[in-house]
């Protein structure tokens, strides 16, 4: 495990890999999945998203096996993806032939093996109480992710999560080059999450929308997320519900 500098380097490296997939086009979840497959050295990736509190659907799968893995989990309501979604942490099944996997997911495990997967790694797309979905990675051979691969997998999951959030907020997708420049080291400060909670109340929206609005404000004003969040927490900046036409909400 490593320190802050390596963390920042990782963000840049991840975005370079995404950029190699998107080749100047606006970045999509498909590009990030393709980059994750190459970067984490897995055989495929799939993303399942929340459509409503009770409905989930597969947004993207890189191949047939990845598509079937998503489908089994949605159909049976069990599997690493389901547990990652509920629990808030990654769920790492390095060998589906292990007894613990069969005990944990008795219906999913044989189906996944039949489909051709031997290891499944599920990364939740979450920011606290905001649950967007799950990034699933699979391999046809058994074995754990190395610490380095796991860190990259989590970083790819962060990237998918931010794309989903900004997409839901109507923000224009960026090229990878622009997007990584936006990647903000202050994004993990406690005040960012506190501000999300405050904006949620101010706007009468859910946490996902509140967080997206906070990010959108920071982009639009070319400020760091942590600085905007501090203004909200110290009550120098309030968000007001949208007039029908939209627009910004400073006071």
């Amino acid at each position: 495990m490593s320190g802050h500098d390596v963390g920042a380097d990782r963000v840049v490296r991840i975005w370079v890999q995404v950029g190699q997939q998107s080749r100047g086009d606006p970045v999509s979840v498909a590009h990030v999945c393709a980059a994750a497959v190459a970067g984490v050295k897995v055989d495929g990736a799939g993303v399942t998203v929340m459509v409503s509190p009770t409905v989930r659907e597969t947004m993207h799968a890189t191949d047939r096996v990845a598509g079937e893995l998503e489908e089994w989990q949605l159909t049976f309501g069990q599997g690493p993806c389901v547990d990652a979604f509920r629990g808030g942490g990654p769920v790492l099944a390095g060998d589906l032939r292990g007894a613990d996997c069969l005990a944990r997911w008795p219906v999913f495990t044989p189906a996944a093996l039949d489909s051709g997967a031997r290891a499944v790694f599920a990364m939740p797309l979450q920011v606290g109480a905001i649950r967007l979905g799950v990034l699933d990675l699979y391999r046809t051979r058994p074995g754990p992710l190395s610490p380095h691969e796991l860190a990259d997998a989590l970083a790819f999951a962060d990237t998918v999560g931010m794309l989903l959030l900004d997409g839901a907020a109507g923000a224009q997708p960026d090229t990878a080059e622009l997007a990584w420049q936006r990647d903000d080291p202050t994004a993990h400060q406690a005040q960012v999450h506190q501000a999300t909670g405050m904006i949620l109340v101010q706007l009468g929206v859910n946490a996902e929308t509140a967080f997206a609005r906070l990010r959108a404000y920071a982009y639009a004003h070319d400020r760091r997320l942590g600085d905007v969040a501090r203004d909200v927490v110290e009550r120098r900046l309030r968000f007001k519900p949208d007039p029908p036409s939209g627009g910004d909400n400073e006071q």
Partner: protein
């Protein structure tokens, strides 16, 4: 520190290590106990994110400035050094560390701290985070106190990871990330409560925590319910 206090602290900590205990509340309680038992002004816990960064998960006081100070350490300070080397770091007099960690030392002294100790939280060969002790008086903690502090850091690790279950590195990663996400939920809930009830963040946390205790709920479960609107405080 009195022996009675010490015994009480360990009993209380052991008492929380039952099934289904509340990790976030446990860590918060542990930092409070550390400060009391070790005779320091404040204590905080930082954990390593698998992505390679340190994150604050608990502090003996929710005082925002202490949290900021801990946060600042994710860039520089005794805590990252302790984390990287896996060894305790003692700064008996912060004025001697100005060149080493200029921003950290300035912020720490502004809050009124004169000395800092950091102890690694270790699970076998992995360092998962660090326990920080801040004091308003300069001076190194004596050897016995350090040993006791390390014991408390070890207890924190065990509690955090419910170590009986930790046989694989995979499970370690899963539980750490889950704990870190719980901390984010709590921050979001503090924001909701602060805005709705016109409280500051410390008061919001106190209300959240006391409500969880009174109703025998897990802090992170209640926080999640507050954020998704299924419960109102």
């Amino acid at each position: 520190m009195s022996e009675r206090q010490l015994a009480e602290a360990f009993v209380e900590i052991a008492d929380t290590l039952v099934d289904d205990f509340d990790v976030m509340d446990f860590l918060h309680q542990l930092t409070i106990r550390c400060a009391q038992v070790l005779g320091v002004s404040a204590a905080g816990v930082l954990l390593a994110d698998q992505r390679g960064a340190l994150r604050v998960v608990a502090a003996s006081t929710e005082q925002t400035r202490l949290l900021e100070l801990l946060q600042l350490q994710t860039d520089q300070g005794p805590c990252p050094e302790c984390f990287h080397t896996g060894r305790p770091v003692a700064v008996a007099d912060l004025t001697t560390a100005t060149h080493r960690w200029p921003r950290f030392v300035t912020a720490a002294r502004q809050i009124g701290f004169a000395s800092v100790h950091a102890l690694p939280m270790r699970l076998r060969t992995d360092v998962i985070g660090a326990l920080n002790l801040f004091d308003s008086q300069p001076g190194a903690l004596d050897e016995d106190t350090i040993r006791l502090a390390q014991a408390l850091a070890d207890v924190a690790t065990i509690g955090l990871l419910q170590a009986r279950a930790i046989r694989h590195r995979e499970i370690l990663a899963e539980q750490l990330q889950t704990a870190l996400n719980s901390r984010v939920v709590i921050e979001q809930a503090k924001g909701v409560i602060a805005e709705r009830r016109h409280l500051d963040m410390d008061q919001s946390f106190t209300l959240l925590r006391s409500t969880a205790r009174t109703n025998n709920r897990q802090l992170s479960d209640l926080a999640r319910a507050v954020v998704d609107g299924s419960e109102t405080l």
